[in-house]
Amino acid sequence: MTHVLDIRSLTKGFVMHHLGSKMQAFADVSFTVDPGEFVLLKGANGAGKSTLLRSLYRSYLAQSGQILFQSDHGQIDLAQAADVDIAHLRRTEIGFVTQFLLARPRVSAEAVVAEPLRMAGVNATNALDQARHWLETFGVKPELWRAYPTTFSGGEQQKVNLARALIRPQKLLLLDEPTASLDANARAALVTRLADLKSGGTAMIGVFHHPGDVEKLIDRVIDLTPETQTEVVRDDVVI
């Protein structure tokens, strides 16, 4: 089977010019991910789990190594690809779920959720219908759909965020603690949606504070703790 993602010797550090120093986040990370596979990233705080996800999404620039992604257009190295190609892949094939919602002023919850579909060319009515469906699924009350999420509680914002991030099936989904600040019902809805996407072939790499939430989905665990970077098949792992 062709890997969706083939990460080779990926290294990331930050140069902090005002301190005149460098900080290593992770070094020489290599692993592959197949379609429909769920990989959990493990490691202590500061091991570089979120940094790795952001480097894969190209919010961070890796210093060396390759991120070979099997896109619909052939294989492309996400570490080196042109910005417009990355922007295109983000609209079509690669999704990222964070714990933070970047809400814009004066934009309603349903419009925020519908936006990825609108950008992909879906008409306004259809996009809004789907947006409302997902807001409902994640437990956002209908009276909030037309309100501005900037005023919502952390948990409600997170639900809007999830609805937006998961509204379109993607080839690769990066999950940065999506269950943080969710209530039990929303967590269950999230796990159901992820399971659906997974069975539809979406490859996932996730960081979870409480991996128990997604225990049934995990195929493999990768430990990013320096010096002990190991890859473990799911059966051998105790979460």
Binding site: H18, R54, S59, L61, H73, H88, R104, P105, R106
Partner: protein, 265 residues
């Protein structure tokens, strides 16, 4: 480090805007040094930098108001070809009047302050050859509506309007002809935050619904973060860094960009 000129492999559409190796000196001051920029169709390019970094000069070049000492500028549009900096004055005016829209920081630069708001918008349609009064009025009205201008003030001259409404008239004028390229020079500077949000919201909607390609210059990083897809950071006439908007804000590489991003409130 800068990926501005990187050739894409997946995106096969040609860039709409190609600016290459532009130099501009004002006396002994180097305003632009070997500046290059690409903008793809439907994309919003943000340009940030301190005062005097050359960002507005670059935008005025894209509006063909200034000619550089050297460099080229092309637009990938039907019946537009060659280096646009070499066009004569008449050809430049026609191109700008029909294909490029601009919103200036100061509405006095973009509007006739004592003519009616609808007349300001209609003027642009007139330049493009529209002569039917009813059509002029209808098109002006629809452009003003798209810019969220209160239609009961259609005939009020901009001088009687608030700063936010003046900017919406400028925006309506700029989009009345569905320009291929929309240039925005500090469009929200000096507006209060609620009006600022309205203008940004309108821009974002125009981008989604009409896929207008935009270049926005602002020293307000919040504005750029909200509307831009890619960002170019300029300092002393040079591009020091360029990248996707989240990368520039989350993982700035250049010392100057780090300083800029960390200084944001």
């Amino acid at each position: 480090m800068t990926r501005v000129m990187d050739a894409p492999r997946i995106v096969t559409t040609k860039p709409l805007v190609v600016v290459r190796n532009v130099d501009k000196n004002y006396g002994s001051v180097q305003a632009l040094r070997q500046v290059s920029a690409l903008v793809y169709p439907g994309e919003v390019l943000g340009i940030v930098g301190e005062s005097g970094s050359g960002k507005s000069t670059l935008l005025r070049m894209m509006n063909l108001e200034e000619t550089p000492d050297s460099g080229t500028y092309t637009l990938d549009l039907p019946d537009v070809s060659g280096n646009l900096f070499e066009l004569d004055r008449f050809a430049r005016r026609m191109l700008c009047a029909t294909r490029i829209g601009i919103v200036y920081q100061n509405p006095h630069h973009g509007l006739l302050m004592r003519h009616s708001s609808s007349g300001n918008v209609a003027e642009r349609l007139l330049v493009a050859g529209e002569r039917n009064f009813a059509t002029l009025r209808a098109k002006a009205k629809s452009a003003l509506a798209a810019s969220e201008f209160p239609l009961e003030r259609l005939d009020a001259p901009p001088i009687e309007l608030s700063g936010g409404m003046q900017q919406r008239v400028q925006l309506a004028k700029a989009i009345a002809l569905e320009p291929a390229l929309l240039l925005l020079d500090e469009p929200t500077t000096g507006l209060d935050v609620s009006v600022q949000a309205l203008v940004l919201d309108t821009l974002k909607r125009l981008q989604q619904e009409r896929r207008i390609t935009m270049v926005i210059v602002s020293h307000d990083l919040g504005v750029i973060r909200t509307v831009a897809d890619r960002v170019m950071v300029m300092r002393r006439g040079e591009v020091v860094e360029a990248g996707l908007v989240d990368q520039i804000f989350q993982d700035p590489q250049h010392a100057y960009t780090q300083q800029l991003v960390h200084a944001k409130l």
